[in-house]
Amino acid sequence: MTGELGQLALCFALALSLVMAVAGLLGAREDHTAARSVAVSSAFGLFVFVALAFGTLTYAFIISDFSIMDVASNSNTLKPLVYKISGVWGNHEGSMLLWVLVLSIYAALVAGLQRGGPRLTSAALGVQGLLAAAFLLFILFTSNPFLRLDPAPFEGAGLNPLLQDPGLAMHPPMLYAGYVGLSASFSYAAAALLVGEAGWARAARPFMLVAWMALTCGIALGSWWAYYELGWGGFWGWDPVENASLMPWLIATALLHSALATEKSGAFRTWSLLLAIAGFSLSLIGTFLVRSGLTSSVHAFATDPTRGFFIMVLIALAIGGALALFAWRAPTLQGGAAFEPASRETTLLLNNVFLVAACACVFVGTLYPMVLDAINGTKISVGPPYYVLTFAPIFFALLLLVPFGPQLNWRRGDLKAVWRSLYPALGLAAVACVVVLAVASPRSLAAAGAFAVAGWLIGASILDIRKRRGARASAFAAALAHAGLGITLLGVTGTTVWRSETLTVVAPGQTMTVGPYTLRFDGVTRVKGPNYIADRGKFVIMEDGKAGATMLPEHRLYLAQGQDVTDTAIHTTGLRDLYLALGDDRDGGRFAVRAYVSPLAPLIWLGGLVMALGGALSLWGRLRLSEPENKPAAPAVAMAAE
């Protein structure tokens, strides 16, 4: 019965999304107040029915209802409850349902908050309704999670063991909150083009911030998962799927900066609209890349060409439609505002130049092999060395400019004074550089340069925070986000340059060394988990001949799939990780072991967290200030008289 209930809820949701699309777009007209209320109600209704469908599917996973095909192929009675629940989005059908659920949450928020006035909100709801309808059609026709299986099997196939992990349980919802959050900016941008209201950048700002924070956290979680789960200590592989999440992040970052200028000084109006469209378009392209089976990885659940085709048409319509609207309406927008070359506007513009180039780099690197293969069958791969030579220099140039932005005034700044005020940051950069060259081994010029840049960023953020002492919390948002960049850079550099590793075979009672650590191997015991059996190695960190902390890396065999997974053990001091992965059994109690010492590794994710915290401060400030903003905030009507 539950499956049919979910199916019915999805059908109602589809009907409501179509109503919302039509009513929302009609309501964009001045006199259609009735249509506007219909759009708002259907947005809430859409959320209720999608949530009902999602709840139904979750319930089917929890009670292991194997008469539903999706549950039978992706779940198992032996799985712990939390992975039964995360299994809902650990497969193609369920993850698309999660996608629509997040879309409907944003639609309900747009309807409930009514930011930017009734007409803009209504048009935005109309666009959001079109997107919801397209994805609901996709689910109902190609990826229905409620299809029945008759006869129902006695046991389910289970979830990919790599995905049975707390980090990965949270990763997809977080990433989707970001991907789909960009749909709100997209809808507001399209609405602004339709209605011609200037207030869209301010109206959409909280949504941009939430989407950006969620993307930041989602990417950090994914990277952390890759680090501890895949067993080789890497945190970023420039895998097409990772790239698919990085591209929207880069554009969302550009959008946050550009839209700030649009809102505060009226600059870059058309450009911000284009970025809002591009951000969500890249989210869609990312979904296509991941879901179409064009890339092979743990993420690619779907290898059905009809789905790929459907998503491709959907993307073409969404992106093509938005760009056509842009080409039609953007020329009617007023020209840019006045500002001097030395002004915050200029720094925000340069920020966008570098972020767009960096995004182009990831875009070309991800798609080029597929396109080249399709054109003439030439097969090439694009790996980390490509990004080191292209992405890294572009991103470094951007980082050098970051400290100037928050210090320069709008319209007209004093570059000399700002430069002088940044001397202490420059000093910190020099100290970081010298210390690295003097102390760290092996000596690395690249590392010294990276530390200098990190010192420059963190130093400038400290100066910024000192300068704004006593201001409201949101004034520190930029300083925190920029400091986070510096912190992540320290982590990435430390791990990449100074990682030491040992690959060896140890027998019980033997010791091994890795970096500054000595480890005693106390043998392996067989342990039984809920749905796996594991060899659990016991390693003791020796400090001056005495036993210290114990580490328990495991080698697990998941019973349902017969798949081997290494479960690493990490001992962290906060500034340095000791990382152990247990390898194969070599007879007589001897085991292969991989051990890494990764200096500064935890800073990679700490930096991401600090960045997201910066976003949270800014959002908090926005929502506190939202009372006066709720009035239609259009200081100057942007659209020229038609």
């Binding site: 840019g336 180039a357 690197g365 090439i380 194969d584």
Partner: protein, 137 residues
């Protein structure tokens, strides 16, 4: 899909050819000479494990990676140059094995595209800044 089918076939062939190498996967043989070992590790990072998702031969535990590591170390022991070793693997597995794509006419757009975008975006920014300055006066 077609592409993954081919990959599966390759993977199966490799598995058949090297079933006894699978268990030697996690720990490759190592050179006692640290300079040679460093060179081997450096070279291992230049090749992709073609049956894995985005892992290099240095990182992967697969049979394919193990085979490549063994062949690579054999060739270093024979005194081949980096270039010769690279050519050997490209001839054997195609250019897709290289983590750094080759620089040739077919990849100029790949290598120069991002900098082209940077130049165009920079040009547009320059014009915008000039215009914004004039608009103020």
């Amino acid at each position: 899909m077609k592409c993954s089918g081919v990959k599966t076939v390759i993977a199966l062939l490799l598995l058949m050819g090297s079933s006894n190498a699978v268990f030697a996967a996690a720990v490759p043989e190592t050179f006692s000479d640290p300079a040679k070992e460093a060179r081997a590790r450096h070279l291992q990072r230049q090749f992709f494990c073609l049956i894995c998702a985005g892992e290099s031969v240095d990182e992967s535990n697969s049979s394919f990676a193990t085979d490549v590591r063994r062949l690579l170390r054999e060739q270093i022991a024979e005194g081949k140059t980096d270039k010769q070793i690279q050519d050997f693997f490209v001839a054997r597995y195609g250019a897709a094995i290289l983590t750094k794509p080759p620089v040739e006419p077919a990849t100029w757009l790949l290598w120069l595209g991002p900098f082209g975008v940077l130049a165009i975006a920079g040009g547009v920014a320059w014009v915008t800044i000039k215009r914004a300055g004039k608009a103020g006066t």
